[in-house]
């Protein structure tokens, strides 16, 4: 069996949000997701990202390939804005589904399947497919983000 006990730190108290894009399903802790919006709420469209402004949040919203590379595709119907330790960013999705922690049994991704900068930390059987628990910090490190997103979040959420 692949190790299970050591995935406890990945468990989200309030459950996960399963976000599907480019045929890939990522699991994020629900507590990290600040808002779920429809595409029509995007205010600006640039080459590799769009911009969302609302509720005191300013965030770049990316359409990612399954290899976590920003692509120009902007017709995904939904997006989430998530917070990570360095700020916030958005992610466009084809499908979104909230799931209870008890519905998934996470297993750590085997080290042989993981390159150094991969955001994938664990996986779980989700319905008939595999979903991957991803680190928001590691995804952010792959994106062209600027401090403006972090500052906007800090200003809207003073300590």
């Amino acid at each position: 069996m692949l190790p299970k006990a050591s995935t406890d730190h990945l468990r989200a108290g309030a459950g996960f949000l399963a976000a599907t894009f480019d045929g890939f399903t990522a699991l994020f802790p629900q507590q990290s997701v600040m808002t779920v919006e429809q595409r029509s709420h995007l205010t600006e469209h640039r080459d590799t990202y769009a911009v969302y402004r609302g509720g005191g949040i300013s965030a770049r919203v990316f359409s990612l390939s399954r290899a976590f590379r920003p692509i120009a595709k902007t017709d995904r119907p939904y997006f989430i804005v998530a917070r990570y330790r360095g700020g916030v960013f958005g992610l466009a999705c084809d499908e979104l589904q909230a799931i209870n922690s008890a519905q998934v049994s996470l297993k750590l991704i085997p080290t042989s399947l993981k390159c150094g900068n991969s955001p994938i930390e664990a996986f779980a059987l989700f319905g008939k497919k595999i979903a991957f628990q991803c680190s928001l910090e590691a995804i952010a490190a792959l994106l062209p983000l600027e401090d403006v997103e972090a500052h906007a979040y800090e200003q809207s959420h003073p300590a």
Binding site: L2, P3, S6, F24, P110, C115, F123
Partner: protein, 161 residues
């Protein structure tokens, strides 16, 4: 003369290796596969086996070979994990694995390219070939997260030479 048995995995001219017979659980030819993004080219899929998903290590790809079609045999293996307990993985090869009987007289040094030394623990000569014996723990729990391929090491060795 003391002998032991091993399984020989043949994935191409420069990709012949062996593992202990006791480490092999079964050979399967089909199963659901799940690709894993941002994984190294030689180990980028999970195979559904029984009630779990296990990593698939493609020996030919690890050696930098480019076979016309991916190997169709999945050799499911079990090994003692770093953290204790038994872990499972799978070696993907194009040829059905062979059982070979080894004696101490067949022992030899590892090939000179550094790639094998990262995943092999010993070596023997058989049928005119040098055959590294793999440590499955090193194959499936590499400590080097950069996951440099065997092909990259082999290229480096030839440049250095």
């Amino acid at each position: 003369m003391p002998t032991s048995k091993a399984i020989r995995l043949d994935a191409g001219v420069s990709a012949v290796a062996a593992i202990g017979l006791h480490e092999v659980i079964e050979v399967v030819t089909e199963g659901d596969m799940a690709p894993v993004p941002m994984a190294p080219p030689h180990c980028r899929e999970l195979l559904q086996w029984r009630d779990q998903w296990i990593p698939v290590f493609d020996l030919a790809t690890w050696r930098g070979l480019q076979p016309e079609s991916p190997g169709r045999f999945f050799v499911v293996v079990g090994y003692a994990a770093d953290a204790g307990g038994v872990q499972y993985g799978c070696m993907r090869v194009p040829e059905f694995p062979q059982i070979v009987e080894l004696s101490d007289q067949q022992a030899c040094s590892l090939p000179v390219d550094a790639a094998w030394s990262r995943i092999a623990i010993s070596c023997f000569k058989g049928d005119g070939k040098t055959v590294p014996i793999l440590s499955l723990r090193k194959v499936f729990q590499p400590h080097d997260q950069s996951q440099k391929t065997g092909a990259a090491d082999a290229a480096g060795a030839s440049i250095a030479a």
